[in-house]
């Protein structure tokens, strides 16, 4: 399908109009290609520009710069209703006065499709979403998750739709039903081979829903990658910190060659960082999963502050040279109090210069 790929060509948006200063940008100019059939999650804290980006794609916001392509077609100024996208909002939008079937038929009726074909399409989509039994009911009496399905259905019912955009669609859904609705979304995604873009601030939602996760902050994309990539190789300290619970440990350090130095203690690294920029803050980052607490004398010497027992695992909150670090407590370890050691896996240590990951030279 030609319309299945969406290209952002220098798309940026500032609500202040042209000539805006750097900080007026809700979205800094960016290039990106959204591939057909892939599900993306836009992940970031509130106000990071993810909804602006979504609304630019759906046409509710016209970008102040850049071009937007659906396939090869320039749609930058094409009105929303002419674009072949569907959007599901944070709060379910349904037409109160209509039945479920009328709700689903509405976009088709507006586009002048003959009634018999509408009926077939509505039937198909209702079947896909599990709404068949409710077709004759009034939409406004239904539960929030059924309403969200209707919102989604109104998008999917159009035959030309090639992308579905979700703007935090699970916000008002009961926790118990969230999982169910999310797996329904994945099922729809597999069945229809659509491009899906899913905005959320919840990393669990993002990581379980999407093939690729786009992490955003302050109007910039920090990293795009699979959940595994984000977890194992965060390209930015914020990604490391934001993904994972608890997030990555970040420690200010001096890095020379293949060693890092924190308060007089040396830490071995797996690669050589010969050419680090000077005069910028240097940090090393390691996930708590890869920092193991050990008896005193092994690894880096730390001071144990507290142990959090999370049931399946135990986490040790320790300090090294006054900096906080979270380490995993191995199951069989008797927890030492006061001084202890932490063993850091050198291959899992990343080095960040000015918050950006630096690739070391592997010898």
């Amino acid at each position: 399908m030609p319309g299945g790929r969406i290209t952002l060509d220098g798309i940026g948006h500032s609500y202040a109009g042209p000539g805006a200063s750097e900080k007026d940008y809700a979205l800094h100019p960016m290039h990106h290609v959204w591939e057909q059939g892939v599900s993306y999650a836009l992940l970031g804290p509130s106000g990071c520009g993810k909804t602006t980006l979504l609304n630019i794609i759906s046409g509710l916001v016209t970008p102040s710069e850049g071009r937007l392509f659906f396939g090869d077609r320039d749609v930058t100024y094409l009105p929303t209703e002419k674009r072949n996208i569907a959007q599901v909002f944070q709060f379910p939008v349904i037409y109160d006065t209509m039945t479920v079937a009328q709700n689903l038929a509405f976009p088709l009726k507006n586009r002048g499709m003959p009634a018999d074909r509408i009926k077939i399409r509505v039937g198909e989509v209702a079947e896909l979403l599990g709404l068949t039994g409710d077709l004759a009911r009034r939409a406004r009496g239904l539960t929030a998750d059924a309403k969200q399905k209707i919102s989604l259905g109104r998008g999917l019912v159009r035959e030309d739709v090639s992308a579905v955009l979700f703007d935090e669609p699970l916000t008002v859904i009961d926790p118990g039903l969230k999982w169910e609705l999310r797996s329904k979304l994945r099922q729809v995604h597999r069945a229809l081979d659509l491009l899906m873009i899913y905005v959320t601030h919840d990393q669990v939602e993002a990581l379980t829903f999407a093939d690729r996760v786009v992490v955003m902050k302050d109007g910039r994309v920090l990293q795009i990658g699979t959940p595994v990539e984000l977890f194992e190789r965060p390209e930015h300290t914020f990604v490391g910190y934001f993904i994972g619970s608890p997030g990555m440990n970040l420690l200010a350090a001096e890095v020379k060659g293949d060693h890092a130095r924190i308060g007089g203690q040396e830490i071995k690294l797996a690669a050589d960082y010969a050419s680090l920029p000077s005069n910028v803050p240097i940090q090393i980052g390691i996930r708590p999963d890869h920092a193991m607490l050990a008896p005193d004398g092994k690894g880096v010497r730390v001071r144990v502050e507290r142990i959090d027992d999370l049931g399946r695992t135990r986490l040790a909150r320790v300090t090294v040279d006054g900096q906080n670090l979270i380490a995993t407590v191995p199951p069989d370890l008797a927890v030492p109090s006061g001084e202890a050691g932490v063993i850091l896996d050198p291959r899992r240590i990343h080095v960040y210069a000015n918050d950006r990951r630096v690739e070391g030279a592997v010898r």
């Binding site: 759906s58 209703e81 959007q87 944070q90 939008v93 507006n110 009034r138």
Partner: protein, 298 residues
Amino acid sequence: MNNKVLNNRAWFFVLPVLLIVLFSALLPLMTVINYSVQDTIGPNAFFWNGAGWFRDVLDPTTPIGANFAGALKRNLVFSAIILVIEVPLGIAISLCMPRKGWKVGPTLVVVALPLLIPYNVVGTIWQVFARNDIGLFGYAINALGIDYNYSLGPTSAWITVIIMDVWHWTSLVVLLCFAGLKAIPDAFYQAARIDGASRWSIFVNIELPKLRRVLVIAILLRFMASFMIYTEPFVLTGGGPGNATTFISIDLVNMALGQLLLGQSAALSLIYELIILAICWIFYTAVTHFEQREWTRE
């Protein structure tokens, strides 16, 4: 409603309200009822008259009854015209109002302005504005070659009273609808655009259903106030020419305070108030009944 705490001491909280309303509503109402069943042959000499006054008021062959029948008919026609004009106009204007930005404040102020002008000043404004010698409106209409004089022609008088009321009160409907429209989240409009809905379709399928509650209030308030109208037409036309614009309130005040017909005016008062209560009750019951049927049809 259902998870409220049962607490009969709450009566202490409503006691002040109760006392004030007893004093300013129930006490006068008792006086009215008292008058309505008595006749007088001189100061402080009352005797029982039973339902006599009520029969007089309700019998169109008596002079009082004829006045009342005429005034009631005028009031009903007036309220109907007012609702037919003001409700759709109010909705239309509220749709034209800006919802964001610096224009909202000044627009609201101008829209609300007529609502805060004392009723007799409203009458005065139109008395002046619609005169054909010194008023812009009357002068302009006459300049167009239309025969218009609200103090001589009943039709002119009616048109003036109606325009005056539309000028005075449409803003109430506008403000109510504006409040209703502001409460609709943006997502509804965005979804409608994605669904390719036309402007009319957005109005019918999104805006109108969300306005239903405020429209019920608007219709009730506009009906009540138009049915009780007194000061504005009294200042403008004095009920004339003849009795072309004599509404029930004008008739009643004339009887009670002008001619001091205590019994008759008291009987008329009670009938008048019962009519308002009855119409409001019927309207409200019909609306709630209709809504319930909508719900149960699911």
